[in-house]
């Protein structure tokens, strides 16, 4: 029982990191960034390439090396997010939503198969595996690496919450979410803020990608597809556009999956999660913490 809860929370913290980028972008410009899951994949591959380049250095102190790589990868995927925003989304801002969604699908495709060309179609094995002694906490088997990864994601999430809630940049983001035109009139550089939002969101996804690579050990170019869907589910459960709600939603989804896997079997895990998404949209489309959004005409 407590093992299931622990597993759920652990997986949920991964989902939360990815879902945050989704929810930030959605909250600000009402765009579902399909390519977001693929930035997670890009993060995993960037980390893989960097660890490969560092070679022997890695083996001596794997955890430190992984943290350095984590930061570098976050910068790289952040820049990747910037490029996508600049090339694919900005020219279409103000166009019908359908065109934006289609470009987002295109961006996702280009990232996936671009990576396939660069890194080959076969799964890669991460050079660093985090191994650690297991500790027994309230009957659940908890390993050191799980604790470290959860601490890292918790730290990132707290930093993000502070950034959005307390800084001037964060205030500008929240203002754009309310009314981009008025922001423009108030002298906020809307384009720059939106670009920064993409940077932060993509960096979070990249961090999750490296952590997933270090934890699960195997990466492939389609790994972002399912996690992107799951992150969306998490964001919807919590209330898309709402940052604390999304974190909550991700943990809820992690727990649901953990228990669902236990009850109905692992092969039905994804069906269970998406079925829950559809159910949730029927019963409470605004999510647990979301407010009712009236569609602006």
């Amino acid at each position: 029982m407590s093992q299931l809860i622990w597993n759920g929370l652990f997986v949920g913290s991964f989902y939360a990191l990815v879902a945050l980028g989704y929810t930030m972008v959605y909250g600000i410009i009402k765009l579902l960034n399909f390519a977001h899951g693929d930035l997670y994949m890009l993060g995993a591959f960037t980390g893989f390439a960097m660890l490969g380049a560092m070679g022997g250095l890695v083996r001596s102190s794997s955890l430190v090396a992984l943290l350095v790589v984590l930061v570098l990868t976050m910068v790289t995927t952040g820049l990747g997010g910037l490029v996508i925003e600049r090339v694919a989304y900005r020219p279409l801002r103000g166009m019908p939503r359908l065109s934006l969604l289609i470009t987002a699908v295109g961006a996702s495709f280009a990232l996936e198969y671009g990576t396939r060309i660069a890194a080959g179609p076969n799964p890669r094995v991460y050079p660093v595996r985090l191994d650690g002694a297991a500790v027994d906490v309230l009957g659940a088997r908890v390993t050191m690496q799980q604790l470290v990864l959860m601490a890292v994601s918790a730290a990132l999430m707290v930093a993000l919450a502070v950034f959005i809630g307390r800084t001037q940049q964060g205030r500008a983001m929240r203002a754009i979410a309310l009314d981009p035109k008025a922001c423009l009139l108030m002298g906020i550089n809307v384009d720059a803020i939106i670009a920064r939002t993409f940077f932060i969101g993509s960096a979070m996804a990249g961090a999750a990608g490296v952590m997933a690579g270090g934890y699960y050990g195997k990466i492939d170019f389609l790994m972002g597809f399912i996690i992107g869907l799951k992150a969306f589910t998490a964001a919807v459960i919590g209330g898309i556009g709402n940052v604390p709600g999304t974190m909550l939603g991700a943990l809820v989804l992690g727990l649901l999956e953990s228990f669902g896997t236990h009850w109905v079997g692992g092969e039905w895990r994804d069906v269970f999660a998406f079925g829950f998404l559809i159910l949730f949209l029927t019963v409470r489309p605004t999510g647990l913490l979301g407010e009712r959004v009236t569609e602006r005409v």
Binding site: G106, Y113, L229, T282
Partner: protein
């Protein structure tokens, strides 16, 4: 009011436009399809041509949802799968003839459309996109996990369209061609009907449509169900062609390719979508060496199309707008 519009000021349609607007174009395309086996009839070519024809049916079905009504469906392969599996299961397990499964397929796909559209069509359109994506995965995973669907290896030994005796690929090609031609014609007529106009209205401005008394939820549901049925019937043809189906045929890639065909050809334009589907299904055969780059190019192409030419290669031209333009020129 009475002044004759000055024709010299507005340049008339170019030859290309006039050719593209020609009424007999559909017949010409059908004729090309009918003649094609006389030009090349190797089993390989027949196989590819039949696949292309089935793909046209899929694209026309998705066009109802995306092109006419403006709802992005990213899990269209799910309906394709529902159709293929329903007919395959009934034909192999209960040994129904394949044609007899068609009503069951229509019911099953319409039901799937209601299940997935019911909760999501009330919400914002982007929710629909992701939910359909999830639904596509659900259908594939269910087919993969259940025993009755044959698990990962799928169903095999599905009889041909008219039983085992008429299994000649050329016969099947012609049958598929005629069925798909009727389906394309039906979809085009549907797009021009009262319902079709309501769809376009919803696509252009949902709130205005609602204010004008269009029941947008019901209209969107109709588009969704129609698209689902077209997809399901394409699934029947697919099952009949290959006589074996497996979950691997119904991945997100398939849905994305159909979407690509619709976007490339021109959303809402029947000739455009048909051409787009033919191009998308034949291109890989021509560009075999570039297989690795294919999907990358598709992705980039989607972005470029949306930025440079969102209306597609062969856009839909509405007669109403031409008439309105003429009228506003008069006043």
């Amino acid at each position: 009011m009475t002044a004759v519009p000055d024709r010299a000021k507005r340049p008339g349609p170019t030859i290309v436009t006039r050719l593209m607007e020609n009424r007999h174009l559909g017949w010409a395309a059908l004729a090309v399809g009918l003649v094609a086996p006389f030009v090349i009839a190797t089993p390989y070519a027949m196989n590819i041509m039949t696949s292309a024809v089935i793909f046209v049916m899929l694209a026309v079905g998705l066009n109802i949802v995306v092109g006419y009504c403006g709802l992005l469906d990213l899990g269209f392969a799910a309906f394709f799968a529902v159709g293929a599996y329903t007919s395959g299961l009934l034909a192999t397990r209960l040994s129904w003839p394949l044609l007899a499964t068609v009503p069951a397929v229509i019911i099953a796909t319409a039901l799937a459309g209601v299940i997935i559209g019911g909760p999501t069509l009330r919400l914002r359109s982007d929710y629909l996109a992701i939910v359909t994506l999830g639904f596509g995965e659900i259908v594939r995973i269910i087919a993969n996990n259940l025993e009755v669907t044959g698990g990962p290896s799928g169903i095999y030994g599905i009889p041909g369209l008219f039983g085992a005796e008429a299994a000649d690929p050329v016969v099947f090609y012609y049958a598929a061609l005629v069925i798909v031609a009727v389906a394309v014609l039906l979809a085009a007529r549907l797009g021009r009907s009262r319902l079709g106009r309501a769809w376009r209205f919803v696509r252009e401005d949902e709130d205005a449509a609602e204010a004008m008394g269009v029941h947008t939820y019901r209209i969107k549901m109709a588009a969704y169900i129609a698209g689902a049925i077209w997809g399901g019937l394409a699934g029947v043809l697919f099952a009949a062609q290959l006589s074996a189906i497996s979950p691997a045929s119904f991945t997100f890639l398939q849905s994305a390719l159909v979407l690509m065909a619709v976007v490339l050809g021109g959303m809402g334009s029947t000739p455009g979508v048909v051409i787009g589907a033919v191009v998308i299904s034949l291109l890989p055969e021509i560009l075999r060496d570039l297989a690795d780059y294919r999907f990358f190019v598709f992705g980039v192409l989607l972005i470029v199309m949306m930025i440079v030419r969102p209306q597609g290669l062969w856009p839909h031209r509405s007669r109403e707008t031409a008439r309105t333009a003429a009228r506003s020129g008069e006043s």
